[in-house]
Symmetry: C2
Subunit: 151 residues, 2 copies
Amino acid sequence: MKIVIGSDHAAFDAKTKLITFLENRKISIVDVGTSSEQRCDYPIFAAAVCQKVLEEKILGIVLCGSGIGVSMVANRFSGIRAALCRSVEDARLSRQHNNANVLCMGGRSSSQEDINSMAMEWLASFFEGGRHSGRLALFDSLGVSPEDLKS
Amino acid sequence: MKIVIGSDHAAFDAKTKLITFLENRKISIVDVGTSSEQRCDYPIFAAAVCQKVLEEKILGIVLCGSGIGVSMVANRFSGIRAALCRSVEDARLSRQHNNANVLCMGGRSSSQEDINSMAMEWLASFFEGGRHSGRLALFDSLGVSPEDLKS
């Protein structure tokens, strides 16, 4: 299994430890940065993760301080369903119900243990389909303008 | 102050109680539904809230079971910055740092007390600007395609 991971400076330490944790479990990682704790801008790394997810049809993980900023950016991309998770249950449900292809977490809002556990649960969970498919089709068809809803 | 609120069936009860709580504090509410606990699809109500936020330049609140689904949908809209919050600190930071104009919460993942407190904190907090403005400009300029990043 290969996944892509990125973060800003606020979650650089959490990302580094998560990568080690996942690589020890035979998961192959593409790390798109950032590469230090020097201040940087979260949209760059959220976008880089999404780009790779869409191009290679793999799953992605992106972190910032709270996870809120990266989840805003990631969901701007058509084809991305980014879930900000704070618990193992969130992680499982976001795969089962929302078919999330990007997992967003906060390096300052979650413990390293929770970050590692959420990532493992997320990667091990699968979309349930059924009534959830119709909902995804509905919102996947939404454009960037609310006008689209009127047609 | 006027705001718009919506939810799916899973958060109908939480939405109803939140509306009463806010109206008791002299906040004027536009409720776009849903109007019962009958099963419905969260994208419809997330989109209706976003449409009103964009048209009237007001703040919006949208809830589903976890808050994850509605945050995915809301962030698809250009001009929307939707923050999934689970704590009062999340609510404050999402206004201060991300200038969120939509607050997403989970009727099943947060207590009613937390939902009410997050809403009040969020409505009382303001964007800090500064370095955060550059980040918002950066991701606000992102389109729905990662190709945009290459140009």
